[in-house]
Subunit: 385 residues, 4 copies
């Protein structure tokens, strides 16, 4: 099927960061056409963004409810097919639910919902709806992260023994939420962000990456969360000890107060015979370590990488692809799956490799369990859904 | 002015590499809409690509001549405004000339033309046409390359003394042109590529980068070119000693037979008090070296970089932007200037910072002078236009 | 005072690793002359090593007790003045005690003793003896580690908020102690090594580095230790959450089963305005990170580093100094202090900067507290001496 | 044979840099005992250094002539056996000649002599004398440089096609010789240093490294030398195009005015199937690149490296060895060969791998040919001895 999917967007109005990223990602591979949007709860702002994006003013809405209902009334060949939801966390559940139940596929920014109960419910709604659902855990979109998962899955490092994930940031080193920084404000506000700050915003990425690459699931954890900057309302730093379902151990940490750090999310997984190591600051490189043998440097765009890495790359080795391309990989794979569905075809294994509702539920459980553990005097807290 | 520019494309049919890159670059920032194309001289192939891109079949042409003439006949609000030319080098001149003379702005892949005489002529045509012209020397689109130029220009390393540029590749380590590799075939064929192989294809990039970052011009050179792989028809490796117009010295090298190398184009410029160093493999980092002081690590997306770096970045520090974004920066700046023209406004200094006809002529002169020097027994060959 | 100190050695016979390192370190700066040794409990082996080292056979002893008693009987201008103890951990206490009580200065390999009680006792013996005592926590001998401590101490990163230390190794990925590997055998044997394996051997280094660079002391910890390789008797992997006496948080990990890792001990300390980062694999570099400013790359041997870094460097910047030089720095500083004592002069601040009994006691307490925490169901275990 | 060789030193008095390095190198592996010296032409200064080194005042001489003659008169079991010559270049020939002709083995700092004629003569003297001769081209002492040579020699990268060597420094960015800097003064003074400045001082190291690792010999060159800093008397920067005896091409550059650079001497050799890359700033790593396969990271101290790398390493992988250890490797191998000679045994291949007179002659020829080429209008100058 050779046409663009019609895309609508909820959120992403003036001052937003991630909305623009979603739009570039959707545009990158020519798989989507943005046809409508409810970009802000403030009507003038929604219109402003709609105009900037040159949308038909008739299809720029003042609320997602209006958008979903009005789009539904349009003819099948006109109305949006996929909706991207890029609002603060507190809007995720209601808007996703309404979209799915009215027949739209959903791409949702992470974390999935405001709390675990909502996430579980949303997962059921997804399953019941028969619609496709993508949760944009960006980092699993990188070709070398996919290669890492592939190498582990193939047994090339043996049974996994140790998993380390890290997400160091420094942008909240000062009390930025007291300035007019929109990003800082909602992310540190419990009523918008949920029960966790740093752990919800970026700890979930580290958690997702750890499980994705290792192919394992966390079964127990022990968290130490901190509010480092005086006056902040949610955690801005934390470390979590982890136990996995095959007996492996590990830990992750996330922080927003490591002054001078940017966004160098990292994952390392070690097994009986070797290890894999990836970090965003050198995102087209995957180190494959081997016991008593030279480390091998795997690179994006080469002939020797797996079909999972190749499928998610646009240029030959040495032309760096980055964050926007990783994000676009999720959008592209989601589009390929939506189209396969429209054509009643079986999607390829490589296309199905985008994060979904299960990742979302586990991410929300991670947040709840981490908060529970942090409050507990007991060392270990079970990771239960 | 808030609308997309209407873009046509010449070249970029099935099997092409750079055509797809141009299309992604044009799409990235929502500044262009591809409306027509003459993607291949083989009619079926042009149609195939047009269909894949979901173009109106009426506007998929069998030749660029047809496209230019037919588009010209369309009404002003429908016809293409900018044409991207992404063919092998031998088609650059004629198609650019025809496009410019018929009122279309041109984005042309490098090198500018088949030879220097054509390049000079094309530059005159550009100037006479009143149309805008961009030559896609990709690497000057990187934010940290722009920062490097800015730092040098500001005098932050003092008067420039030494300039080093390198473009190491390894993909032509074997006689790939004997296989059915389209990229290798035309790039090593004198009738398609021109008088130079490696020096024309990638040496020109190193040359352009050296002059761009240093702010200097080459006045003399001494070249040693090699055909390393037996059976190849054009140079696949070479080193060139350089003298610059302020008295500085330096060299560049380019090679396609450094087995295991990818595309790590690099530039280093040293002055009386410090130096700047950039390489594509770590493209979001600029090292600023200082005599007897610590090296400073400048990074894309930070608050402390110049307006030239900031204007050409989409995401905060630590979310890697790469080759496609650098390419897109040229397209975006070109669009901003075209639109400024349509609105009779003065473009900003940051927008004007894309490579143009002067870069193209100098690049072609570089090729001719390098070939002349390689054949000469004299050490130094003057760099004259 | 311009003469070499007379050095004796306990341990370091055939098959030992660290003994040879101590000897090179002592020799490096011409401050010591090895005059005697009790290199092994097996008499033939002690003689073998003594011969290899060209010692006077009269001064090669079959036990440390014999060495101490016989050397004591020699005239003051002949007998050893300093003794290096490089045996497995179970011998540390008795031999150090005897040496100190008989008038010899002691350089002791870490960890200080077999258990905390011994360490405290030994510290008292040191203080009572009036003799000098050095515990060779190698990594604080690196010039850039000293620079890191200096920068933190000067307040250049503000009040410390977060401390991370890591010691990843992979050499015990397999059950090496079942082969005839002497190093693996004693280090994994509770009767030789003490209650901890990995945490005692290398976790103590990470702990020492964390406290040294941050200038803080651990007050609480939460440990998760693992025996990863089946059949092993002591921990070979672990992570420890840390609380510090100024309210800062952090963690350390140490592992000997991260297949493909070598010895890349690392420390990162972050404060209110910046951070410092050092790792052994790039040991002559110290990254100084700053909030919203470029990272600065400090380098060994430069003009701009502190007197602590300069004093501990032999060659100009860019001539890499490494592990043996770091080790030698402890030996050299210890010699300078011993000599200052002999001359009744005040040692310089830079000379006094070698690890001593206090570091040793804290290291042993770390081992005991980590083991206690690992066994506890409570999250936090107080760090008490 | 288990005893230390008796070493004398010519040069290396107060203010010298390389003399101290030689002494540490000689001491490192316990193979030498410094027994005498003529450290300076200024008598008081020679005595000062002799005292600092605790030498027998009877064996601290005021001139090398005196030292050689007096030492010769001592009994065979007392007199020096090896002499280290670490003076400025103008003294190299006479002192080496006298030492060799009077029966002493010689370790000489590079470059070999003041000019090529002397070098050739000295090579003949060495051969005639039957004494051993080592020229301390430090960088071939690094284990990973030896591994690089081994890999090339084994054919693991195929027939060599391209050779690149670089020695960037920045310490002469200013006119340091006008201050009281002893190092800068003699190195930029034609009467002490010879006809070349930068090319003699460090270009020769790059040249030596290029030939050593590639296993090839330069046959033609084309040099561009510069005096960048006004007022300097000798070249402080230059690039040299190279042709090798198997048809390979390449280049080297050396500079002392690349502000902010330290001593990152680098070599890269590419063949038909791969390449090797080494640089001093990461001296324990050797990159082995392969066409269409992952780069392999070879590391000092591992189990998988060659006997040449292993023999020249003291500590396990991940404990960085550096410049002093590389230097010491030459001293140690030289000692092993001298001792083998004393015992009428055949030295091992690994021991013989230290630079000698042939390297010295080629280095001096390089200097002369580079200067000749720089002055010539012809592109290529033959490299003849």
């Amino acid at each position: 099927m050779n046409r663009k999917l019609r895309l609508g967007m909820i959120g992403g109005g003036p001052g937003a960061f991630i909305g623009a990223v979603h739009r570039i990602a959707a545009r990158m591979d020519n798989e989507y056409e943005l046809v409508c949007g409810a970009f802000s709860r403030t009507p003038g702002k929604s219109k402003q963004t709609g105009d900037e994006l040159q949308l038909d003013p008739q299809r720029v809405y003042n609320s997602y409810e209006e958008m979903i209902m009005k789009e539904k009334e349009l003819t099948e060949d006109v109305r949006m097919e996929v909706v991207s939801i890029v609002t603060p966390n507190d809007v995720h559940f209601d808007s996703s639910k309404m979209a799915l139940e009215n027949g739209f596929h959903v791409v949702l920014d992470k974390p999935m919902t405001f709390n675990l109960a909502e996430a579980k419910q949303l997962k059921e709604i997804v399953e019941k709806s028969g619609k496709l659902f993508c949760l944009t855990h960006t980092y699993t979109g990188y070709p070398m992260v996919k290669e890492a998962r592939y190498q582990v899955k193939q047994g090339n490092i043996g049974k996994v023994r140790k998993v380390v994930a890290a997400y160091p940031q420094g942008w909240l080193t000062e009390l930025l939420e007291e300035t007019d920084n929109k990003q800082a404000s909602w992310r540190t506000d419990p009523s918008k962000s949920g029960m966790a700050g740093c752990m919800g915003d970026i700890g979930t990425h580290a958690f997702n990456l750890a499980e994705y690459v290792s192919g394992l699931q966390v079964t127990q954890l022990c968290a130490d969360l901190n509010i480092v900057v005086p006056g902040r309302k949610l955690d801005d730093d934390g470390t979590v000890l982890l136990k996995f379902n095959n007996g492996a151990s590990g830990f992750l940490y996330a922080s927003q107060i490591m002054a001078g750090e940017e966004n160098d999310i990292t994952v390392k997984v070690y097994g009986e015979t070797g290890g894999v190591e990836w970090k965003q600051s050198d995102c087209n490189t995957l180190l494959i370590k081997r016991f008593n043998k030279p480390t091998e440097v795997f690179r994006t765009g080469t002939v020797y990488v797996s079909s999972f890495a190749k499928h998610n790359t646009r240029t030959p080795a040495g032309h760096p692809e980055g964050y926007l391309e990783a994000f676009a990989n999720h959008y592209r794979n989601f589009a390929l799956c939506v189209k396969a569905g429209l054509e009643h075809q079986q999607p390829k294994e490589e296309w199905l490799d985008y994060p979904g509702a299960e990742d979302g539920v586990r991410g929300m459980a991670f947040i709840e369990r981490v908060i529970a553990s942090d409050k507990s005097d007991q060392k270990w807290t079970n990771f239960t859904l």
